[in-house]
Structure formats: C-alpha cells, structure tokens
Amino acid sequence: MYGNAGRNILEGSSLKQFDLALAKHWSLSERVNLQFRSDFFNLLNHTNLNTPNPVVYAAATGGPSPTAGVITSTSTTSRQVQLGLKLLW
C-alpha cells in the first residue's frame, strides 16, 4: 500500500435510530399476570447508510473493485416490529 492519506480522513454518514416499546399488563389473578408487548425498532424508518467500500484494489493483480466507494448496505435495519406475549406466575 502506497500513498500519503492520513488516518481518520473519511467520515461515514450519521446514524439516527428511535426504538419504542409499548407494553400492557393484565392481572389474571393474584398470582398470574399476562404481559403483551410490542417493540418497534427504527420506528421512523430512517435509512442509516453504512460506510462505502474502502477497498479499491483487493489483490495485487486484477482491476479495481467495482464496489469501491459504493454503499451497498445499511448500518441499521429498516422499521421492524416485534410482538410478544408473556405469562408470568
């Protein structure tokens, strides 16, 4: 690797994530409780882009990587919802 690029000269895009949990508890009897919960991950469905591919030449022979400098994934998930039911005694 040759070049004069310094450390930490590149900065990725920002990350925003808002999670929410809503839970409802019922007392079925003095000892038995029922819990329903819904978890929302990335509620606002904000796209958090991952960092671009930093590798231009993966091998000494062969041309530059076609994905060099290209963003191909997100760093967090899109909005996802998880539902849960829990019986406690």
Binding site: F41, T67, T74, T77, Q82, L88
Partner: protein, 266 residues
C-alpha cells in the same frame, strides 16, 4: 457494626451492583453496649477504590427496553463511548474481525478486545479468536435468566484483565423462596417490517419465533433457590444482495461472443 465496649453502629440503604466498589468508614464511639445509633440514609455512591469507569445495565433496563431478537447485549450501547460494530464487520466466521453474535467497540478499542464474563467465568464465542458470545442466530439469548450486567472500561482494577477493552460482567438471576415461572412467545415477520433501502420491490420473506419459559423456586427455603430458563429460536430469513451488473451501454459495446451470454443472463 458491633464491637464490645463500643456503641454499635448501623448503616443501611447502601446498594451495591455488579462490578462496583464502595468504602464505608465507621467511627465507633466508646460507650454502653446497649446504646445503638442507627443511621438510615441513602449515601451517594462514589467509587473511591479504583479509577475505573463503570456503567451498569440494571434489571429494569434488561427486562423493559426493546430488544430486537431479545439479544440483551444490544444494551451495551447504553454506555457512553460504546458503538455497535456489527454492521461493519467483514470476513467469515472464525476470522478475527467476525463474530456470530453482535460486536461492540468500547472507548475506541477494537471490537475483539472486550472480555465477557458470565458470573465471573470467561464467556467466549465460537472460536479462540471470536471473543464475543453469541450463537448462529446472531443473538445473545437468555435474557430472562439475566439480572444485570456491568461494563468496566479504561483503567479498570487489578481483578480484571486479559483484554484491554471493556470488561463486561454478566450476572444471572436466581430463584426466590416462592415458585415463579413464565412462558413467552415473541414474533417478528416480514409483514410487520418496512422495506430496506436496498431491497427491490419485494421484502424478502422472513418469519421469526422466539419462545421459551423460565421456572424458579426453593429447594431448601432460605438456602437454595435455582432458576432455569429455556429459549428457543426459529427463523426463516431471506436476504437481498447488492451486485453490480453491466449497464445497457456496456452491453451494447461488448463483443458478439460475450453479448450472447449477457443478453441471456438478463
């Protein structure tokens, strides 16, 4: 605090959590044995014994905060200076920069430099160079059996060691004098999820069921109370892969022998 010939002294309201140190100084007054001075207060907890920086993820956070896939290690990111590195990892299983479970960078350290302790015992991943616990599901399961965990970083005390990053002490829950149990089912599927930025028109199919139960109680009252927990994880997961293909201009410019191949490949 009792000593013959001194007044006994009592201090309560001092709550200690995993990974925390506190010194309490008592000054005993000379006096009658029957005299009792009772101080009942909640003194400010200040770690004066070691110079570590510690963060606690307590029972309430473990039980109440939303956990995607019920992987409780996601709560590590509640501590300052902690970054979830999972989406940045590269390489396949068994390489030093890849783990099956989630990965975290604490205080700018490499994510392989954290030490996880389960009740004081080294809690490792799939191989010698996979230092973060977690299974093929990509999750660290068993949140119902976890009471709390503490993250000690930077200049931690001499009782810790082995790796320079965070020292994560996980403490499991115990049973009580009464029999208690729980059964649960958690569901996630593609019908409830939004489309990812890189997905095409359709969301890849996805169904996940997390189910299990826990049970605890006394074997000998006031003496032995175990707790057991089972968590099952079943998942069908479709993935979108991004790949680069020649555009129309480069297809048109290709030599005839290649053109036959790319036109049939669509």
């Amino acid at each position: 605090m009792d000593k013959l010939g001194f007044r006994s002294e009592r201090r309560s309201g001092v709550s200690l959590v995993v990974g925390q140190h506190q010194e309490l100084d008592f000054t005993l007054q000379v006096g009658d044995v029957h005299q009792t001075v009772e101080v009942s207060a909640d003194p400010d907890v200040l770690s004066a014994t070691t110079e570590d920086t510690a963060g606690l993820v307590g029972e309430r956070q473990v039980k109440d905060l939303p956990l995607n896939g019920r992987s409780y290690d996601q709560l590590l990111a509640l501590n300052p200076g902690t970054v979830n590195y999972t989406s940045q990892r590269a390489g396949s299983t068994g390489t030093s920069n890849s783990e099956l479970g989630n990965m975290f960078s604490v205080s700018g350290h490499r994510p392989q430099e954290n030490l996880f302790l389960l009740n004081g015992v080294d809690y490792t991943g799939a191989s010698e160079i996979s230092n973060t616990p977690g299974g093929v599901s990509g999750q660290l399961l068993g949140v119902d059996a976890v009471r709390e965990f503490a993250v000690v970083k930077d200049t931690y005390g001499a009782e810790y060691g082995k790796r320079p990053g965070a020292q994560v002490s996980i403490v499991t829950a115990g049973g009580t004098n009464q029999f208690h149990g729980a059964v649960y089912e958690f569901v996630r599927n593609s019908a409830l999820d939004a489309r990812n930025f890189f997905d095409q028109a359709e969301i890849p199919g996805f169904q996940r069921n997390v189910f299990g139960g826990s049970f605890g109680g006394p074997i000998r009252p006031d003496k032995t109370f175990p707790l057991g927990n089972y968590e099952g994880y079943r998942q069908n997961l479709g993935l979108s892969n991004v790949t680069l293909v020649p555009d129309k201009a480069s297809r048109a410019a290709a030599v005839p022998s290649v053109q036959i191949r790319i036109s049939t490949a669509g």
